[in-house]
Structures are given as structure tokens and as C-alpha cells.
């Protein structure tokens, strides 16, 4: 069995939580933003990201010399929870904060850190992730986009797909084949940072089923990438990428994407004095509590540098099912008429949750892939 630590928040942490909450409530009241389900993917608002940057809340855990606050992982956990619980539009800076920063801290050159991190913490520099390719699906290592060595850098040809917010982003961290395909498809891959405004880059929107624009296909036609934009070791891209995954899979964004709807459900049941409905809803809280303990425990181990690939995959596979269950439970307890433009919050949150739910168990590793990963892990233990 995996044993995860329990986390008791300190008084300072509780204080920080209330501080973040007060800030968000103030801006919610002012109309700076509107609560939205799944806001970490679908709520891109550069102005809001800048505001968050001004608070010092991007790159919270990063070294001060790069503009960070050197706060703990648990502080960052609290911050993220508060963003998601109120459905704040954090999508623009999300990937830079969650993935690019930690990647550069671990594998980047000092030059890269000094160049990118201070921009990221200001909320002015956003990153996309260039991992999937057309038709790669769950077989992420089947990378066809290739880099050819030229003097002073690389020439990139190929394309990446499902890149969230590429249209708002300035750069993308991409996984590229820098050596010809050999016996093992995981070898010969490297991580390169590509300037999305460089010559030869074309960004084509992929409309979501709602018609909204969150995803993109990004084409590279003889795009030049200078040598200093290679992250880490050439040919080691696959392993470097894997290291990010535990961070990506275990956060509160795998549990709370539909939290605003749950909040509204409980409020509705309370208003209606529906005791039987509230009993049903309280089971949901029990599940949420269980997942949250797990997710915070993983965050704590990650901070200490421990190995948590399996519990992180479990947070993702069980947490995303939980998120998906909220609209289905809600509709059985209160009458709603889901509509994206609805006036009633519960109708709008139902619409957002229902329409976005299919993606929860697909993005960031499908549940099917995660089951296999977990099983291999526990059998090997």
C-alpha cells in the first residue's frame, strides 16, 4: 500500500487562504470576473492573469530571484483551490505556472530561467503544451514532428494538436523528434521551446463542441528554433516530460472543475429545505473529502521529492469521474434547464459542467491509460 502524509494547515496557511478568498470575492463583486465551471481550461483572461501576477500569485513556490515567492507547495495548493472553488479565469497563465516553470526549474538553463520565469510570474507570458499530434491519441510517443540540425539551432517541421490556449500563448514547450526514429520510439525525443509568433508557425483553432475556441492545432513549417531553446538534455525529452505528469495529474483541478455547480446545488437544497436531497448531496461531500485528502497528500510528497506516480494517476482517474458526476447528481436533485447563457447560475453551471465533462476523463491521460499505469505499478510493487 501507498502511505501518504496527512496535512494539517498551519494558521499562516489558513490566513493565506482567507486572504486569497477575500481578494477573489472582492473582484467577483466588482465584476472583474464571472464564476465559471472548468475555468482553468476555458477561462482565459489575460487581464485577470496580470492581476494575479501583480498579487505575486503566479510562480508562488519559485525562487525569489526569478520573481517567485518561495512559498510552499501547500500554499500553492491552497491558492489553486481558491481559484477553482470560485471558478476564476486562470487559464491564460495556467500551463506556464503549473508546467513550464517547474520544468525549467528542473531541466532548464540558467539563461532560460532568467528569461522566461520573471515574465511568467508577472502574468504576461503564457505557454502552450505541444505534446499530442494528429492521430497520436493516447500513443503520445508516436511523435512525427521533427527537428533538423542547422547552424545555431533546429528547423522544425510537423504539427501539434489539442494545444490549449495556443492562440493566447507566447511560447509552447514541444516534444520533437531530434533523432531519426530508432528501435524505441521513446528515444530521440527532445523538448524545445518554440516562439509561437515565429515565422512558419500557423495556429488553427479547433472548435470545441460548444463552438468555443480553447484548443488549437499548431503547424510548423521550417520554423527555426535556436539552440538555447532546447530544454534539458537532447534525446531525453520523453523522460523529462514524464516527470511533469505527477504534477499535472494530482492537483485540485482534477477534483474541483465542477465545484461551482456543487456549491449552487447545496445552496439550492438549503433554500428549498430539501432534507432528503441534502442527504444525497452530503455523500458527494464525503467523496470530495476523500479525494482532497489524497490530492493534498500527493502534493506534500511531491514537495519532498517523493515518488507518487501511482497515487497521482489515481487522483486523476477517480477525481475526474467525481467532477463528471456532479451535473448528473445535480439534475436528479433539483430541476434545471441547462443553458450556457442562462440567468440562473445553476442552469449556467449545469450547461458548462455537462458540456465540458466529456473532456475531464480524456485530457491529461485518458482513464483507460491511467488504469493500465496504476495496475502495472501495483503489480510491480
Amino acid at each position: 500500500m501507498f502511505s501518504l502524509p496527512t496535512v494539517q494547515f498551519t494558521d499562516e496557511q489558513e490566513q493565506f487562504r482567507l486572504e486569497v478568498r477575500a481578494f477573489l470575492q472582492e473582484h467577483l463583486a466588482k465584476g472583474t470576473f464571472k464564476t465559471k465551471c472548468d475555468s482553468w481550461l476555458s477561462g482565459s483572461d489575460p487581464a485577470f492573469s496580470k492581476l494575479i501576477g501583480e498579487q505575486g500569485w503566479i510562480g508562488l513556490t519559485w525562487p525569489k530571484k526569478y520573481g517567485g515567492q518561495e512559498r510552499s507547495t501547500i500554499d500553492r495548493y491552497i491558492l489553486t483551490e481558491e481559484f477553482l472553488a470560485v471558478g476564476a479565469p486562470v487559464a491564460a497563465h495556467w500551463f506556464a505556472d503549473r508546467q513550464t516553470g517547474p520544468l525549467l526549474m528542473r531541466f532548464g538553463t540558467e539563461e532560460q530561467r532568467e528569461f522566461f520565469l520573471p515574465k511568467i510570474v508577472k502574468g504576461e507570458c503564457y505557454f502552450g503544451i505541444g505534446l499530442s499530434e494528429p492521430n497520436s491519441g493516447s500513443d503520445l510517443a508516436s511523435v512525427k514532428t521533427r527537428a533538423e540540425k542547422v547552424d545555431g539551432g533546429w528547423i522544425i517541421n510537423g504539427s501539434k494538436t489539442w494545444t490549449s490556449n495556443a492562440h493566447d500563448a507566447h511560447y509552447a514547450v514541444t516534444l520533437i523528434r531530434t533523432e531519426p526514429l530508432g528501435e524505441k520510439k521513446h528515444d530521440g525525443l527532445s523538448q524545445l521551446i518554440i516562439d509561437l509568433h515565429a515565422e512558419g508557425v500557423t495556429i488553427v483553432p479547433i472548435k470545441y463542441l460548444t463552438g468555443e475556441h480553447h484548443f488549437n492545432e499548431v503547424f510548423f513549417d521550417n520554423v527555426f528554433v535556436p539552440d538555447n531553446m532546447v530544454v534539458g538534455t537532447l534525446g531525453n525529452g520523453w523522460k523529462q516530460g514524464l516527470a511533469e505528469l505527477a504534477f499535472e495529474r494530482s492537483g485540485p483541478e482534477r477534483i474541483l472543475s465542477t465545484f461551482p455547480l456543487l456549491d449552487e446545488l447545496i445552496a439550492g437544497l438549503k433554500r428549498q429545505g430539501d432534507a432528503a436531497g441534502m442527504k444525497e448531496a452530503s455523500k458527494v461531500l464525503s467523496r470530495l473529502w476523500g479525494l482532497r485528502n489524497l490530492s493534498i497528500g500527493v502534493a506534500k510528497v511531491l514537495e519532498e521529492g517523493g515518488e507518487v506516480a501511482i497515487p497521482a494517476a489515481l487522483v486523476k482517474s477517480i477525481g475526474t469521474k467525481f467532477e463528471q458526476s456532479i451535473p448528473e447528481i445535480t439534475r436528479l436533485l433539483v430541476r434545471t434547464y441547462p443553458r450556457l447563457e442562462a440567468e440562473r447560475r445553476i442552469d449556467r453551471f449545469m450547461a458548462e459542467s455537462t458540456l465540458h465533462a466529456p473532456g475531464f476523463t480524456i485530457r491529461g491521460g485518458t482513464s483507460e491509460v491511467l488504469y493500465g499505469m496504476v495496475a502495472k505499478g501495483v503489480v510491480g510493487q
Partner: protein, 352 residues
Amino acid sequence: MSEMKEMIVNVVEKIFKDKVDKEKVDVVEEGKWAEDVWQVLQDNEMLAVAVSEENGGAGGDLDDLLNLYRLIGKYAVPIPFVETTFANVLLEKTGLNVTQEKATYAVEEQLNVSIDNGTVSGTIVNVPWARYVDELVVVAAGTSGLELVQVSLKDAAISPNMNLACEPRDTVTLVHAPVQQQTKITNEQLEYFIALESAAKSAAMSGAIDKAYELTVRYTKEREQFGRPIHRFQLVQQHLANLAGEAVITSSAIDNMIASIAQKCLQNEVAYTRIRIEEAAKIVAASAHQVHAAIGVTHEHSLHQYTRRLWSWREEGAGEAYWTKQLANRLMEVEDDSLWGYLTRTEKVFQL
């Protein structure tokens, strides 16, 4: 189904196959009117399938109509076919004149519509297709009980709105709109109409379930991952089995529900079917999307045209909450000493 019924279904299915494709649904969702689909149905006299012959229809039954409603779901047909034909069912069942115009209806337990001195007033939300049609058949509170009323939508203020599938669901405001025709109805009749309307939605949902299932089977044959078609993976097979199960159970539920309605005995069948289909809609939408993975949540793929309809329709009309309450009340009152006796009873209830 009789041969005649089967023929009608085949004719209409052929029309939808010809006329209604992904692009057609897309443009209607963006706000266009699909005149060609409407026209060809009219030309083929399919709008009056269930209208009696003396009223100029084909003299079909409710069961013909319900089988056609399955096709509305199966092809995501973007016209007010259900609305117009069901409005005529309401008119004819209450002895009023059928209408030749495009029509829609509002039949619910709680409607804020009243009738007074030959005019109708009130606001009704989520009226399907109101902005595109001419007539509204609505249940209104009269001075001495319920009335079924027909008004012209020319006399209404219409504020456009839509459901998750971008189908028109408009707010209709009537202020002393003149009554075209009216008749008293009983509470039992209203209940019966609510049940029929719920059955209609179930039939349409079952068609959308069939299509989501078919699309998924097809996709698992075409799509390869890790060097083999994905239908070879056990977890995909589990999804396929779940989908096939839901598809066959809902299809058979609709057949049985239609048979009960045809025999004018719709004791609990409408309730069971609707509850089961809402459950199936959840399972099918989730599994179909999971198998299709990323490609299935793009606007470019057609899957969402069916899943968004399922998510929308399950919230319309009398649904799970209504029917579980009805069933619970009936179970509380039955005098049978055993559940099995109750379940296998074939007593007829609605005899309208």
C-alpha cells in the same frame, strides 16, 4: 409494426438520410431555417401522418408518430416536426380542428397562462421553435378549470433562447392574445397529454442513443491505436458492450411503450421508459465520448449533435423527478400484497 407503418418509417428515414446531414444541422444551429426539409415532409404528406382521414390526414396512429419521433433523434432533424404533429394530436384528441400551419405546444402541470374573455395571457418559457412557427397550442387556466387553447404566435411577443443543442426554446409572452379555438379539458386529460409528450421525448432520445451507439461502433473499427483497431482493446469492448446494452434496452423499451400506448393502456410504461432512457442517455453520452476521446469533443465531429440533444431533451417535459413521484405514489396506494403481482398486472388505466 405493420407493413404500412414500416413503409412510412422507411420513407421518412430516406428523406432524413438525404436531406439532413451534419452541415444542415450546423447551419440550423447557427440560426437558419431548413425549409427544404420541411418542404419535402410536407410534399410527402408526412406532417399529417397521425391526423385522421376526415381531417385530411393519413389516418395513422400515435404509434406511427412515435416511431417517426425516433428518427428525429436519430438524424438530429432540425425542424419542428415533433412540435407540429404533436400540437395536432392535442387538437384532435380534444375534438378541436387540426391546423395546417407550423405549430408548437406547451403542456405542463404548472403554466402561468390564463384565459379570460376569449383572450389568453401569460409568459411561457422554453417553447420549442416558437420563433419559426405560426400556432401555439397551450393549456391555460380558465375561470372554471383547464382549457386547451390555440393562439396565433403572430399575437405573441417572442424572445429567442435555446437549449444545449442550440434548438430554439423561446420565451413566449401573450397579452390578451385572441383565442383561435378552445375547449375544456380535465385534469386526467392533462395528465395523459403530459405522459404522451414525455413518451414523445423518450422516442426521440432513443433515436439519438441509437445514433451515438452506431457512430461509436464505426469509430472503433476505423480508429487505430498502438498499431491495432481500438475495438480490440478490452476497455473499448466494455464501452461497446455497455453502449449496445443501453441501445437495445432503450429501443426495446420504446417498442413496448408504443405497444402499450397503441392498446391505450399506458399504466406505468411511459414512466418506466422515460426514467430508463434518462439513465441510458447518461451512460451512452459518457461512453460514446470516452471512446471517441478528443476527436469526439470537437465541433467538427458529429457525435455532439446527438449527445447535446440527449443532454437537452432529458430536461424537457415530464422527466425522472415527475415519474418517480408518480410511481412512488402509485406504489404507496396499490392494494396488491406483493410487488410481483403489481408488476405483472395488465389492468388498463388510461382509457381516453
